[in-house]
Amino acid sequence: MRHVVLVAGRDLRARRGRYALAALAIAAGTALLVALSTVTFGLKVYVEGQIRELYPADIMLYSDRIEIPVDIVEVIGSMEGVDAVEPLILVGASLGGRGATLVGIPIDDVDYFAISLVEGRLPRSGGEAIVEETLGDLYGGRATVELTESLLGPARRIEVEVVGVLESLLKGFVQTFQVNLVVVPLGWLQEVLGAEGFVNAVLITVRDKAYVEPLADALKEAFPSAQVYTQRSLIRAAIRIVDLLGVFFNVIIAVTLAISGIVVFAVMAITARERMREVALLKAIGVSGRAVALSVLLEVLAISVVGGVTGMAAGYYGAHVLKALLGYMGVSFDLPILAVPEVFVGGVATALAVAVASSTLPIVRLSRLRPLEILARGQ
């Protein structure tokens, strides 16, 4: 084994310039992999955190009609394991040509909805509303919310006075999540819609997550025409969208790794060609083909570890750069850049796999070399 290490070590030193190029190619691929994976991971953490913060409910009972009696809130609230129950009305609307969601919530329980105002105040009486930052231009004025004819009732126009602005859902990062919330007091909205005593959504929070599934099943049974969403299913849906972004990232990573692999293959193929005389000599004096293969493999592993670790560090800091770049492009949200051990290990493992796979052919050629073919040529 010592001769394997000796030959590998000396060859690494002799061809350090070329091997540095191969390590650089591996580092570039690994850096991109680590950076994009770290950003994707951070996005998932961020999205999940935002959903948990903005939708504190574990379960949402939702119907297309305003048909859920508010009295049910007390019934559900008295059930075992239930911590809080909040009734609300969610109505699709438009506001100055923009799609919006009109939300009626019990204004006394505003903390439950984790609404944080960036401007103005909360509604105190009927006819007052707070809007998302995306509708922030309406702040301080009157706005007309238009409801189209639907299962909820006939088309109508509702006048509101915008008294405050709340932070956008997911801070406006993903367009899909932008619902242009217009939040008004629940009692007033019920009155306007002629649905006193009824809502079309109920948010439920449980003390123990183990209650989520049984309670959701019970609600499905009690309200067969309504839909029952759990926080977990909302998170899953949001994560699925992030995963789509991940697929796009994976394509970029795959292309970069393929280029890294081609560079490594080219470097190792040239090196193998140059080392044929040396390997022929080694085999002639009795060094086994296995030892030759092991020696080259050792070099490839050393190159890929250097490239992989460099790429891992560069990728992690590159993720910070990417975050800053997104901020510079106007996407200002606090994306968490976390040091994820799985991403690091995956990055280095991928670097090793790409380098070894790209070098297999040159290694096999060298190890199977018949010394006489080369020695006879050199005589």
């Binding site: 030959v7 000396r10 040396e278 080694l282 002639a284 009795g286 030892a291 020695l375 006879a376 050199g378």
Partner: protein, 274 residues
């Protein structure tokens, strides 16, 4: 008997319709401790015979015995081990690993054979001393002259104390003075270590150190009865060479007794050494 070729043919087929007969019915016996020179013009088949004796090539027909082993159809793994422990090679031009120093080149076969690192380097220094190049131990091949490279190659070939030394035109790339120094060295190696030497050459002066000269012409091997001239002069310090070789031999016996228990080939070799 160190090597025996029995009715060996070697036919190359560079393409489907072309056959080149390199050896035809070659029969040759090399006794242990003998120096044998294969002479003949270029393309006569002497290098082919040398390669077959060195287990680098296989005969098309006939049988080959090396150090008592029938190597005609032996598997490559066994042949690699045999070359590592029993045979030392000095080729005409490709001899040293360019990225290794002279010392490392000499130590390499010993490390491959499983010698402890410290002992391998200790013996490599003795061998470099024997060939008069201890002061060049840290030099890379490109920093050495052709003659010095050949001498390092000889030291490397002797690293595992082979029973057989195979030399292919060992003096063809060096000047006359260096060639004579190398010949003296070969003779001393043979005399002190009892190493069997088989060499291919077309130079009568080189062949003059051989106890037996064999002519190869058109792939046919024939024994020569001609006694050739002695080497003129001895431009190396023979006493120093002998002393170094004796020290190498003593060290080798010590190391071999340790390794013999682990390696059957080494155990058998230990029995065959003087």
């Amino acid at each position: 008997m160190a090597i025996s070729l029995v009715d060996v043919d070697k036919v190359y087929r560079p393409s489907r319709d072309v056959e080149v007969v390199a050896l035809r019915g070659a029969t040759l016996t090399v006794e242990r401790g003998e120096i044998v020179a294969l002479m003949g013009p270029s393309g006569s088949g002497k290098t082919t015979a040398l390669n077959i004796m060195g287990t680098l090539d296989r005969p098309t027909r006939g049988r080959v015995y090396v150090a008592g082993f029938d190597v005609t159809e032996a598997d490559e793994g066994f042949l690699e081990a045999l070359r590592l422990h029993y045979i030392g090679f000095v080729f005409q031009s490709i001899n040293l690993v360019p990225s290794l120093t002279a010392l490392e080149n000499v130590a390499l076969p010993m490390l491959a054979a499983g010698y402890p690192r410290h002992e391998a380097y200790r013996k490599a220094r003795l061998l470099l001393d024997a060939v008069g190049l201890l002061d060049r131990a840290g030099h890379y091949p490109h920093q050495l002259s052709g003659g010095q490279q050949q001498r390092v190659a000889i030291a490397r070939a002797l690293a595992n104390m082979p029973l057989i030394l195979i030399l292919d035109e060992p003096t063809s790339n060096v000047d006359v003075a260096t060639a004579r120094a190398l010949l003296t060295l070969f003779r001393e190696i043979n005399s002190v270590l009892g190493t069997t030497i088989v060499m291919a050459t077309h130079d009568p002066e080189v062949a003059s150190i051989a106890g037996k000269v064999v002519y190869v012409r058109g792939g046919v091997v024939s024994r020569s009865a001609v006694k050739l001239a002695e080497v003129a002069g001895e431009p190396v310090d023979v006493e120093r060479v002998r002393e170094s070789m004796r020290r190498v031999f003593e060290l080798e016996k010590e190391l071999m007794s340790d390794m013999a228990g682990r390696n059957e080939l080494v155990r058998r070799k230990a029995q065959l050494l003087p």
